[in-house]
Symmetry: C2
Subunit: 143 residues, 2 copies
Amino acid sequence: MKVSELAKAYGTTPDTVRYYTRLKLLNPIKSENGYKYYPPTEVSRFKFILSARQLGFSVSDIKQIVDEAGHGKAACPLVRALIKERLAETEKQFQAMLTLRENMSRALEQWECKEDKAPTSTMVCHLIDSFEPVSTEEPSDEK
Amino acid sequence: MKVSELAKAYGTTPDTVRYYTRLKLLNPIKSENGYKYYPPTEVSRFKFILSARQLGFSVSDIKQIVDEAGHGKAACPLVRALIKERLAETEKQFQAMLTLRENMSRALEQWECKEDKAPTSTMVCHLIDSFEPVSTEEPSDEK
DNA sequence: GTAGACCTGTGTGTAAGACACAGGTCAAGT
DNA sequence: ACTTGACCTGTGTCTTACACACAGGTCTAC
């Protein structure tokens, strides 16, 4: 398969295929005209990469995994370790987004009924300046 | 205030202060020795920027808002419009993270009890290859 | 006078591609 | 045979919101 064919087959873009190829995650065969051709093994590797990305692995995680597997070793322990890390990160970000989302909707609500005010030298926008966020502090749980 | 003082006062880093200054979001006074000094108006502007960032506005959003206010106009309508956009984006990302998080924990669970397997030419890691994600598809709601 | 802690500007790095561009290649239609 | 248009190639730059590095200037305390 050629670059665009591969991309289309899995609903991504040629740029993504080229990106992974640049990083040597994919190793196509170069034909005489200079075009890259992806044999079946590379196609399934691409599928693998996309699955791993969907599971939250970073591209560099995937590189590690592929390298490990390239040595014939089972990458499973590494994979389990990595996903634990990524899950923890995701959980953190998730909580942050939860707070952010709540703050944003609270702000929107608060602001709907407030009038406009011209700025002053110390206040760019009274909406933002006077916004009261939800308490992020857990009363006394850590430290 | 000097760069590091300002940063410390609001729990950020000197690099952040310098970054906003580079973008002309902050306009310090240069003293003879070349150091930047932030007068009270710039200090409250910095406070404003940090609040806006916490509310999910991008730095370029903030630049727009500040510019608008710089012309003496009330930035409130712009602020309301922008936060609606950002909230919508956040909502999307939030849903995506929800799915991701679920997939990750499901994967972790599924994988705990599976044994390791050596890779083959078409399979880098059977854990990832055989993972079954939660259904992302809404049965037939759009399109 | 000098050590150490600050400051300056500028430049580079990050993640995961998206986009641009100059030029080569190929299949189809004339 | 020739041209058009759709593909391909490499390479380089852009994005976000800073973090970090570096060479050199400045300030404070000893």
